[in-house]
């Protein structure tokens, strides 16, 4: 197996996630796109871990999974708060801080 086939898979997933963050207006769908990006980074870390014969990438991948879980928890808490106050979770409607 080539190193590049895993890295290309991760790159494609990353770009799909970036497209999702740019194109989506619904806050929950934006969080899902961010999960795609984090997963592609995990694939990269594990590929380099196998290539270099170390276990450091595994530790980083586990930490990223934990941080992603925390991020989703806080993110969905924010989304609930926004929905309760504005009755919408469209991020285009959150323009109070625009100068």
């Amino acid at each position: 197996m080539f190193v590049n086939q895993f890295l290309f898979l991760a790159a494609v997933l990353f770009c799909i996630g970036v497209y999702g963050v740019v194109a989506r207006k619904n806050a929950v769908l934006m969080l899902m796109s961010i999960e795609l990006i984090l997963n592609s980074v995990n694939i990269n870390l594990l590929t380099f871990s196998l290539r270099n014969g170390t276990t450091d990438g595994h530790i980083f991948a586990l930490y990223i999974i934990a941080v992603a879980a925390a991020e989703v928890g806080v993110g969905l808490g924010l989304v609930l708060l926004v929905y309760r106050n504005k009755k919408t979770i469209s991020v285009d409607d959150l323009s109070e801080m625009r100068g």
């Binding site: 197996m1 895993f6 769908l29 930490y63 929905y83």
Partner: protein, 164 residues
């Protein structure tokens, strides 16, 4: 090696298709279910990369916990379960060139850096014992910091979502 390659390409194709559905579907619940396919495919790729503990953690944390959170978030923020028309913003067309430019840039960098370099043929599976030796040895301080991050996230999420 041949079997692993075939497995890789099948899983990779399914993952990319599912990821495209996540960012294009008009139904929030369907997007969450397509995301499950991507996450399960990622877990399978981790096993191909000899990382069984990370793969099991991925299934437990992402497919078990994060997806339930997403479905609850969908359920609590809108009563309507079904197709919706206003999920994309007006910059939708702009996203395609942005993603393509990034993909081309990363592809050129990857080809020029790694070319046709191969992964080691005789990779041994990284055992859970090795990972725990690392976490509770040289990576102990980041582990503590991560514990505080999780604690802060739990407390913060409750404070944010609580009704006063």
């Amino acid at each position: 090696m041949i079997a692993q390659n075939i497995g890789f390409w099948i899983i990779a194709t399914v993952m990319i298709f599912a990821a495209l559905r996540v960012v294009t579907t008009n139904n929030v619940v369907h997007a969450a279910l397509w995301l499950v396919v991507v996450l399960a495919g990622a877990a399978a790729q981790y096993i191909l990369l000899a990382a069984e503990f990370v793969a099991v953690t991925q299934v437990l944390v992402y497919i078990g916990a994060v997806m339930v959170l997403f479905l609850f978030g969908t359920m609590l923020t809108r009563a309507k379960i079904g197709t919706e028309s206003d999920l994309n913003n007006s910059y939708k067309k702009l996203g395609i060139p942005v993603a393509l430019v990034m993909l081309v840039a990363m592809g050129v960098a990857l080809v020029s850096s790694f070319g046709d370099e191969k992964l080691p043929q005789t990779a041994t599976v990284v055992s859970t014992q090795e990972i725990s030796d690392q976490i509770f040895g040289p990576y102990l301080l980041p582990f503590w910091a991560l514990s505080f991050v999780l604690l802060a996230a739990v407390v913060g999420a409750i404070v944010l979502a609580r009704k006063d």
